[in-house]
Symmetry: C2
Subunit: 419 residues, 2 copies
């Protein structure tokens, strides 16, 4: 048997112990993990320094290097996040529905853990702790396969978390970090469909496509966010401008940032010049259709590709549309099913926008930046699913469980006549 | 572009129209479909006769031939099932949770259709209508890929259902029957992960393995049911015997029939001889371990394979176990996560059995034969999922939807300080 299969089987075995833990025991484990991370701070920061050196030598710089970096404050943030997961409600054992049938059998739908979750991710070492915490809170085993740039940081963090498992009397295999980062090993992991219940890829488009292509285990993708703001004819222009600036300029590098602005032609000539000026003041480059370019002289022409792009940068595609239907058609064609926003004072238009779009999150008069597990009340998130199955949109601990049936009777049978 | 991709894209386009339908419109469509099937009865039965002739020529007989056969009564049953689906509650648009955040944004979790469901199935032509009805009720498009034995029946039934779509002013591509039954075409269908949101294979182990191996679209398996009854030391023997006979002998060919009986050693010497006699009277062959064989002389020896087998026949594996833990260990080792039953008067033993097993359905003092969408209150089922994701156990119309987020605000933004 290959090493990776053996590791996965050990994780599955250990996951059975995690599945049986009480809420208190799981929360105590998460607090012990937070303490372990802080106690092991020196070693973790040393390991991170090795990753940073290697990245620097490879010429990695800027935002990517920043995502890799750990320091005392960031490590304290990771420990704090573990404690916050401890405070979340436990989804396991929740009874979501009860019904007694006419024959007297009592049916409950009860949340149970998924089993083993494989997390496939890139650069950020905090994902190692964040993902492990949510998986364990939901009673699952977790297999973590991070990127090579963060391997020393990830190994040090995982060792610390595993120590907390061990010292809590629990099998450390419940948290398994894959240290063999060869692609063929990842493919083997993704094909263990009798062992792994769910794979969650988080990272760039290349990684997600690779996982989707090679997996035989179920996959929930966390794919790109081509988020739209449609400014309807009836929109309050001040409100629309607030949503626009928050959506585009408050943190352009995240998946819930706006990428395309659609403006109803009836409001374009008053709204767009003002919006263009406010965006220019914040360093945002506009790429527009002809009408938009006429109204915002500094706008460059937008290509087809620009409308499908997740810029993750201070760039915004702009299009003036004839009406709500044209806005919906544009989003259906170019959108990524992540998050869409309408600014409007017309309730019927809002309802139509919500009904007609199949995106995971649809907002009326609220910023796309609220498309986030914390902001939407999930407490923490393991990512934002753009797969239209199981969990769609921000995924919290509950999304790492599934409902099953528990039935209690008093000897009822289906064919009493046959006895 | 290949024919199958073109068909799938047309189905996705048509699915958008189905997703927008009101509950009344969908129910009217289902009733029109039922009427169309009855109006087209002569043609459907003729087509079925062609399938029956071809099956007879191939030497297919017995239960398989019976599953293929349609007659007036069975067609009336299919039409009735469509009307029953019309009467079920509409899952689409259901608000499952509401929350207003401290910043005033109002969040709803709302059920929306999955999109396009591909159903891959064998012999029974009724699945063509049953699956289509549930998919459409849940606002989805459906692609049906049945087996070659039923191709004429399936084509005739699909033509009739499509006529109802057309006459209701709806795009017929919402229901697409794949008539090209080559394996490579099925593989191509299963790899259209930008078009198909879910594939559901129903049939024999070979079909399900084939689908799981080749799919790049999400798959929910409807795999075998190796269902167990554990008769605890404290069980009421009369009750346990009722569950045993109903579970094994009322309809042995279905997935919720019992395949293995586990008996606590403290009750074995009184229970097993009586159970053996009752089973023999119903023509059930026993395959037991040594202790069971000593207590039921006509029992044959059980092999390892027998404990993992889904007999789908009047055969039952029997094992005497030391205690509840040994029963749980046996089920964890040999079970298929489908349905397990405990007969007991000991509440703590019942709770431990439920907690320790990860099967989709766990019953306390009730027959395994209740593991069925209709019996568990779902109204109808598209199958019984043994995939521990999205839907686990019997799947009804609700399992063909997913929850998304709808957020309404009054201009809230995440970083008001930046504006």
């Amino acid at each position: 048997m290959s090493d990776i299969k053996q590791q996965a089987l050990q994780c599955r075995e250990a996951a059975q112990a995690i599945a049986q833990l009480s809420t208190d025991a799981k929360n105590a484990l998460l607090l012990a993990m937070a303490d372990a991370l802080l106690a092991d701070q020196a070693g973790i920061l040393q390991a991170n320094a090795r990753d940073m050196d290697a990245a620097g030598a490879k010429g990695i710089a800027g935002a990517m290097l920043d995502r890799l970096k750990l320091d005392e404050a960031r490590l304290a943030g990771i420990a704090r996040a573990l404690r916050e997961v401890a405070e979340l409600p436990d989804p396991v054992g929740q009874v979501t529905r009860r019904e007694t049938r006419p024959n007297g059998i009592a049916i409950e739908r009860v949340r149970v853990p998924l089993g083993v979750v494989a997390m496939i991710y890139e650069a950020r070492p905090n994902v190692t702790a964040d993902a492990a915490a949510l998986c364990l809170k939901a009673g699952n085993g977790v297999i973590l396969r991070g990127g090579s740039e963060a391997i020393h940081s990830n190994t040090a963090i995982a060792a610390s978390l595993k120590r907390a498992l061990r010292e809590s009397g629990l099998p450390e295999a419940a948290l398994t970090l894959v240290e063999d980062l060869r692609r063929e090993t990842m493919v083997e992991l993704l094909q263990l469909n009798d062992v792994i219940d769910l794979a969650i890829p988080r990272g760039g488009e290349g990684l997600i496509r690779f996982v989707a292509e090679h997996a035989r285990v179920p996959v929930i993708k966390h794919y790109k966010g081509v988020c739209h703001l449609f400014v309807d004819a009836s929109a309050d222009p001040d409100l629309a401008l607030r949503l626009l600036l928050d959506g585009k300029a408050s943190r352009p590098g995240v998946c819930n940032a706006l990428e395309t602005l659609l403006v109803h032609e009836a409001i374009a000539s008053s709204f767009l010049p003002r919006a263009g000026e406010a965006l220019r003041a914040r360093g945002v480059e506009l790429r527009g259709d002809e009408t938009a370019q006429a109204l915002v002289p500094e706008a460059k022409p937008a290509s087809e590709d620009d409308y499908a792009a997740e810029f993750l940068d201070l760039i915004l595609a702009v299009r003036v549309v004839k009406d709500l239907d044209a806005a919906i058609a544009h989003i259906r064609r170019y959108g990524s099913d992540h998050t869409e926003v309408i600014a409007t004072r017309d309730g019927a238009a809002a309802d139509k926008f919500v009904q007609s779009l199949r995106s995971a999150v649809v907002m009326v008069n609220a910023s796309s930046r609220f498309s986030d597990g914390g902001e939407l009340g999930l407490g923490a998130e393991i990512g934002i699913s753009t797969t239209r199955l199981h969990s769609y949109g921000p995924m919290g601990a509950e999304s790492l469980t599934v409902e099953r049936f528990v039935v209690r009777g008093e000897g009822q049978v289906r064919h009493p006549d046959l006895l």
